[in-house]
Amino acid sequence: MTSLIHARGLVKRFDGFTAVAGIDVDVQAGEAFGFLGPNGAGKSSTMRMIGCVSPPTEGTLEILGLDPRRDGPAIRARLGVCPQTDNLDPELTVRENLTTYARFFGIPRRTARARADELLEFVQLTERADARVEPLSGGMKRRVTIARALVNEPDIVLLDEPTTGLDPQARHLVWERLFRLKKQGVTLVLTTHYMDEAEQLCDRLVVMDGGRIAAEGSPRDLIERYSTREVVELRFATEDQSAYADKLDGIAERVEVLPDRVLLYTDDGDAALAEAQGRALAPASALVRRSSLEDVFLHLTGRTLVD
């Protein structure tokens, strides 16, 4: 099977600053593929290279079997792009935003109009079709942007943080629509720093850190590889949680002390908790939960804030 996106040793440098430091990526048709990573990890730079608006500094990049350096317009004709910040025309109506954009792809006016109506139905904005974009809520604008990205019936849809800044209702609606697209066989490539989003949507993902790929796999693979099945969160009624670290020694595969709690990484959370209680350690609160992608993410990219 040939990949729709094929990158080898892909590098992007800006005046001495390396945003992407040599990554290998393959995205197959029909897949939902995610780029995860903290701010500055190189996700958006990678997306812009795939979107053919940013020429790679080094390395191989093939999209739909074409070379972005040479065939930019031909590739972009088959991509749908939902950028990190909405760039709709706030003065135009919702429908006009879609129809004028469709024209950039050479889509005939009548077809553009019909497709705009379908897509507005798809993102549940039919009633707002003739409303100006400017006063719409963030969630609605996001849906207009997603609808606009679909106006050319793209083979690949690129979504840069599709639900950042949306309220839970809007996020779930967007997820549900993206999931439907995936069902229809559209290839999705997205960036996110919401782990639940990645777990919901992505078949496969890479965790990026400092311009490199730190890990790759399905959400389940990554959890298995980089975390334990369960996590026990203990909070002790004391200023210094680390005082308990030694006493918890050997209970779990890995013990992580945070300023406000202690995490025990283990395959059997209940057993670990019972043993902690058996050692006469009485945490103020205890929670046994399944390991999530967030644990993997923090393990791989660290807890230090990167701005």
Partner: protein
């Protein structure tokens, strides 16, 4: 249709929202300036300028000035906004358009705006009986040329700056002096020699001079060819600068 045609179409759809107000002001502003300067100031100009009634003399200058002002209006805030505020250029860049389509389509729209504004002014000018030669028909294409001679480099400037205080600076220190000293309101010969050369260097004076020859039916002489070429030079230079800036902003 070419890709820049689709971009022009987008700008026209956008213009459809405001065209009524825009057409109205395209008619009212000329009327006010013709009344105010042509008749008002003209009443104090005895014997006209170079043997031509002041009203007849100033109208072609005002037309050229309108062409340039319209071009400036379109090449400043909208361009800045498409880069900095609503980021429409970036949206266009993710479609299968090339940078030259995005720039070309927008400049074509600016030319359209210049053309409509000048056509409206010509109607007013005709109503006041100030067009004295069939050569007045050469004014619209001339106005488009002058409009682009200003729009292209100013588009490059607007694509270079990132806040609109720089646009205010442009208007204060470049546009205002150019409008005052380019022979629109009084002959450039009344200026000190140094300022005359500033007028000759800028595009507006050439547009004023050529328009004046056209509406008054004067022989512009062989210099007219060089004036047209000079305006073309501004267009080409501006285009090169603007596409360089657009590429630097949109393809990074």
């Amino acid at each position: 249709m070419t890709s820049s045609g689709y971009v022009l179409e987008y700008h026209l759809v956008n213009y459809r929202r405001t065209w009524r107000g825009s057409v109205l002001s395209s008619l009212v502003l000329p009327l006010l300036t013709v009344l105010g300067f042509g008749l008002g100031v003209g009443a104090y100009v005895n014997g006209g300028v170079d043997g031509v009634a002041y009203l007849d003399w100033i109208v072609p200058g005002l037309i050229a000035s309108t062409a340039v002002q319209t071009a400036l209006g379109e090449a400043t805030w909208p361009v800045l906004s498409y880069f900095e505020w609503n980021k429409m250029y970036f949206a266009q860049a993710s479609a299968p358009l090339r940078v030259t389509d995005i720039l070309g389509g927008h400049l074509a729209f600016m030319a359209f705006r210049v053309l409509t504004a000048v056509a409206a002014f010509l109607l007013i000018a005709a109503a006041f009986g100030t067009l004295h030669s069939p050569w007045a028909l050469a004014v619209p294409p001339l106005a488009v040329l002058a409009g682009l001679a200003v729009a292209a480099p100013v588009t490059a400037y607007s694509a270079f700056v990132t806040t609109d205080s720089y646009l205010a600076i442009l208007f204060r220190f470049a546009v205002l002096p150019m409008s005052l000293f380019s022979g629109v309101f009084f002959p450039v010969e009344s200026l000190p020699v140094a300022l005359q050369w500033v007028a000759y260097a800028l595009p507006l004076w050439h547009a004023v001079d050529l328009s004046r020859a056209a509406t008054l039916g004067l022989d512009p002489g062989s210099g007219a060819l060089f004036q047209v070429l000079y305006l073309l030079l501004w267009c080409v230079g501006g285009w090169l600068l603007a596409s360089w800036r657009f590429r630097a902003r949109l393809v990074v």
